[in-house]
């Protein structure tokens, strides 16, 4: 019997994500990947996976999952209530479950989090990644969000007993009062007082936000001379200002190029916080320079890696031989499906 993870109940927008698909922007392919890469990596560290292993990204609600393997080690990161067969257990740590046991994830403080499982999923990568990009029906589980009744094949049928680990929340860092940006590349498309308004205003997350962009409402940012530029490349964190003047922060499912001026760019260390912003929530921005941005990122990375090293003892790694059944059990084109039933934006 193929080891699997049965989805009893999937919250909205539960998808398979890893750290994203890089190298294919030139083909128009979005990176996708975990909106909070640090939480994904933490969940993987807890179960003994490589940090790049794909996990489930749960959203808004959580979900109920049943182990269909002899045993499995799982870890859930993100603030939630967790139960095994109805009995509450601690989140932010690993747990070993056996066949038939059910894990319930109920979101609490966080909007999104990750469920990692020892060995990961036996799903064939698409363009080098297991990340789901729903809009183009690419990657992950059949290119779509998970549905009740989905059974995701696992690489490992068994997770050997080992000491369980927990996350040091200090290693993840807290959300700063104001999210940090660096100006540009097209800040010169806006007058000085308009640029100042980006920093002095309190913005609110629009209900139309999704994995593609966090749309913000607030006082419009008027362009000096129209909202059109010669289309150029964008990246995750680009703050585009379309004709409406209301900025949008591009996130993992973003397009690869765009034709609106980008007044500023969210620094890479702070991007993860967009995973947790709820519709209606207030957001403020503060400007830093490039050197500060890189220093903040280096600090974040050093803190996380110090924790990861501190817990990585002699733990069993997922068995490489488990890969052998992957090719036998997955359809090579399982990452592709008709986009007709995808969302329309």
């Amino acid at each position: 019997m193929t080891p699997g993870l049965l989805v009893h109940s999937a919250g909205p927008w539960c998808t398979v994500q890893d750290l994203g698909r890089s190298g294919f922007g030139r083909l128009g392919v979005a990176p996708a990947g975990a909106l909070d890469p640090l939480l994904l990596r933490a969940a993987n560290v807890l179960v003994g996976n490589a940090e790049t292993t794909a996990a489930l990204e749960w959203t808004v609600r959580g979900g109920v999952f049943e182990i269909q393997a002899r045993s499995a080690r799982v870890a859930v990161t993100g603030d939630c209530s967790l139960a095994i067969d109805g009995l509450p257990v601690a989140p932010w740590r690993s747990h070993r479950l056996t066949r038939g046991q059910r894990l319930s994830v109920e979101a609490r403080g966080d909007l999104r989090g990750y469920l990692a499982i020892f060995g990961g999923f036996a799903i064939e990568p698409v363009l080098g990644s297991l990340s789901t990009h729903v809009r183009s029906a690419l990657g992950g589980w059949q290119g779509r969000t998970l549905r009740d009744g989905d059974a995701l094949p696992l690489r490992c049928d068994e997770a050997p007993p080992a000491s369980e680990l927990h996350v040091d929340l200090a290693a993840l860092g807290a959300r700063p009062q104001a999210l940090r940006i660096v100006w540009g590349p097209q800040d010169d498309a806006f007058a000085a007082d308009v640029r100042e308004r980006l920093l002095s205003s309190t913005w609110h997350v629009s209900t139309h936000s999704d994995r593609m962009a966090c749309r913000l409402t607030g006082p419009p940012l008027a362009h000096r001379s129209g909202p059109d530029i010669v289309s150029d490349g964008v990246l995750t964190g680009s703050i585009q200002v379309p004709g409406s003047g209301e900025p949008m922060v591009l996130l993992a499912d973003r397009q690869t190029t765009g034709g609106y001026p980008k007044i500023a760019t969210v620094i890479s260390a702070d991007l993860r916080h967009f995973a947790q912003l709820r519709p209606g929530e207030a957001v403020r921005f503060a400007a830093v320079d490039l050197d500060q941005a890189i220093a903040l990122r280096a600090e974040q990375e050093a803190r996380f890696c110090a924790w990861a090293r501190s817990v990585a003892g002699p733990r069993p790694a997922p068995d490489a031989a488990a890969d052998a059944h992957v090719l036998a059990t997955t359809n090579l084109v399982s990452g592709v499906s008709d986009a007709a039933d995808g969302p329309v934006v």
Binding site: R26, L27, S231, T257, I267, R297, D338
Partner: protein
Amino acid sequence: MPEDRAAPDVLRMLAVGDTGLCVELGDGISPQVHQRVLALDAALRAAAWPGVVETVPAYRSLLIHFDPLRISPQALRARVAALRRAPDLALAARRRWTLPVCYQDEFAPDLAELADRAGLAGAQAIAVHAAVDYRVYFLGFAPGFAYLGGLDPRLATPRRPQPRPAVAPGSVAIGGTQTGVLPMVMPSGWHVVGRTPARLFDIRLAEPCLLRPGDVVRFAPVPRAEFAHLEARAASGTWRPAAEDLP
């Protein structure tokens, strides 16, 4: 300026946060500026500097995605500025594609209106659209979606006020001064003037996108019966559109 140097082509370099550097090689949209973009892109791909994650060409600029913990933006700028184009550096081969297009009504809901606006008969509008060697500037928006330059100004039309929620793959469409082919079902505000049986994006192929930046595309009108025939062959993998290499 010496022909073997890429650096003098650089108009400006703009920081895009702490993980991106946008190198602009000209101000407008032209094949000459675009050729410099492709040359810089090829040079960076050949150089494969540690810390450079990927490069994304557009009309007049190249966005370099980099890992700031592996290469500093200052070092990256200095390296780009000092870049010499190797004399034997070959750009990716450019091809001229002939894409059959059926312009008949069922595939062309917006053709009559476009022709009217341009003061052309339907058949003339088709002839105008099919008479151009379009240049592939870049792929963006969606996997395999090519921005084609060279549309006859008479056919340029602002986007529809209300995008259609789902437009069929293979649809040949016009948006503003651009024309293109939709690689998959997607929402679109572009005006649909025909459909090609060619597959623009096929994830099962080693090179999933049919078109590359720099390629040339020409549309060839075909009747409905031939469209259906080619469509069936494309579905079974026994037909791809014809291409010839460009010098």
